[in-house]
């Protein structure tokens, strides 16, 4: 938990205080959220969490900005092509929400960095673009009992769920196998929808308001304007989380 001294004026959050109350606002201000990936999903997730008044964001990404990122990754300006994404994101978030402390880590998620990064977080946002890193980060979050808010997109479609460690299915229960994947096409608004939902889940978890999308996978087809909830319990023989379960 990070304690900050808010310097915002009293009206900064007046449109959300009726919804989450001063206690909820205080919880956001005292929270640290790890955002893994500041690309298509990380842009809306980090932006809405900073604007909501979250005290600290730890942002992680080892990529540099490419021209082809700019259809969706709005934390980065056109003039920033070639820069490390985390520093561009840090600057944008700093200008939008100066009271949110941003810690930028321009490295890769691996077994060593994941444990260290998760240790300081109250919530982890999975805004990564590959399952290899996702499963490494998920394991660290599960072991540290930190909620892991998963999102992924492709084309006009997306998926999202909140993994609450030891209280529901893990990522391996939900997604036992993944198809081979390379560079996927994506409409920027698809990432906008799913990344915003991830921010919403984090706000709900931290303030204790609402019902988490947990134990169910939200599937969304923006092209058809259709969504489903895939209800999924813990897998009986899940190779990851079944150990120690009755």
């Amino acid at each position: 938990m990070k304690r900050i001294q808010p310097s915002y004026s009293s009206s900064r959050f007046e449109r959300q205080l009726p919804l989450i109350g001063p206690e909820g606002q205080k919880k956001l201000e005292n929270s640290t959220i790890l955002i893994a990936g500041v690309g298509g999903l990380g842009s809306p997730a980090a932006t809405y969490l900073a604007l909501a008044g979250v005290g600290e964001l730890i942002i992680v990404d080892d990529d540099r900005i490419q021209e082809s990122n700019l259809n969706r990754q709005f934390l980065h300006a056109a003039a920033s092509v070639g820069l490390q994404k985390v520093y561009s994101a840090e600057a944008t978030l700093g200008s939008l929400a100066p009271d949110t402390s941003v810690v930028a880590y321009p490295g890769r998620i691996d077994e060593i960095s994941a444990d260290r990064l998760v240790a300081d977080a109250d919530v982890v946002i999975d805004a990564l673009d590959n399952y290899e890193s996702r499963f490494v980060l998920h394991e660290a979050a599960w072991n540290a009992e930190v909620p892991f808010i998963h999102g992924a997109v492709e084309g006009f479609s997306g998926q999202m769920t909140s993994i609450i460690p030891k209280k529901g299915p893990c990522l391996s229960c939900l997604i036992p196998a993944v198809p081979p994947s390379g560079k996927v096409p994506v409409i920027g608004a698809t990432a906008g929808v799913i990344g915003s939902m991830q921010a919403m889940e984090a706000i709900k978890y931290l303030t204790g308001i609402g019902t988490m999308i947990s134990g169910r996978l939200f599937l969304w087809d923006g092209q058809a304007g259709r969504s489903e909830f895939l209800h999924i319990g813990s897998r009986k023989n899940c190779p990851f989380c079944s150990k120690g379960r009755e």
Binding site: G37, G39, G40, L41, G42, A127, L128, D129, N130, Y131, G151, A152, V153, E154, G155, S157, G158, Q159, I175, P176, A177, V178, P179, S181, V184, V186, A191, L217, L219, D221, Q223, A224, R226, E228, L230, H231, I232
Partner: protein
């Protein structure tokens, strides 16, 4: 009997948003997925080279997930709907 299959993401691109299939009584989810896949160039998205449903295919039937390995043991009824979804990975 008639059943409906709804597809998401790249399955939707390959097989369409919704397909109504005419299947014989007693047909299983495996039969339905094989019928949908057909023999076209995209069949391999759903079915491997020995006719099994690929492990990454997420199947929902009556709001419950059915694993690809169980698909042969789940019989369908007239009017049933199956949803097929491949996990997406982009961020």
């Amino acid at each position: 009997m008639k059943i409906l299959i709804r597809c998401y993401a790249r399955f939707r691109d390959a097989f369409g948003e919704e397909q109504a299939l005419e299947l014989p009584e007693g047909a299983t989810i495996l039969d339905a997925v094989r019928t949908l896949a057909g023999t076209g160039p995209d069949a391999e998205l759903l079915i491997d080279n020995v006719g099994n449903i690929r492990s990454y295919v997420m199947i929902m039937h009556h709001d419950v997930r059915v694993s690809p390995m169980e698909a042969e043991s789940v019989s369908l009824s007239d009017g049933d709907m199956i949803i097929l979804f491949p996990p997406v990975s982009g961020g």
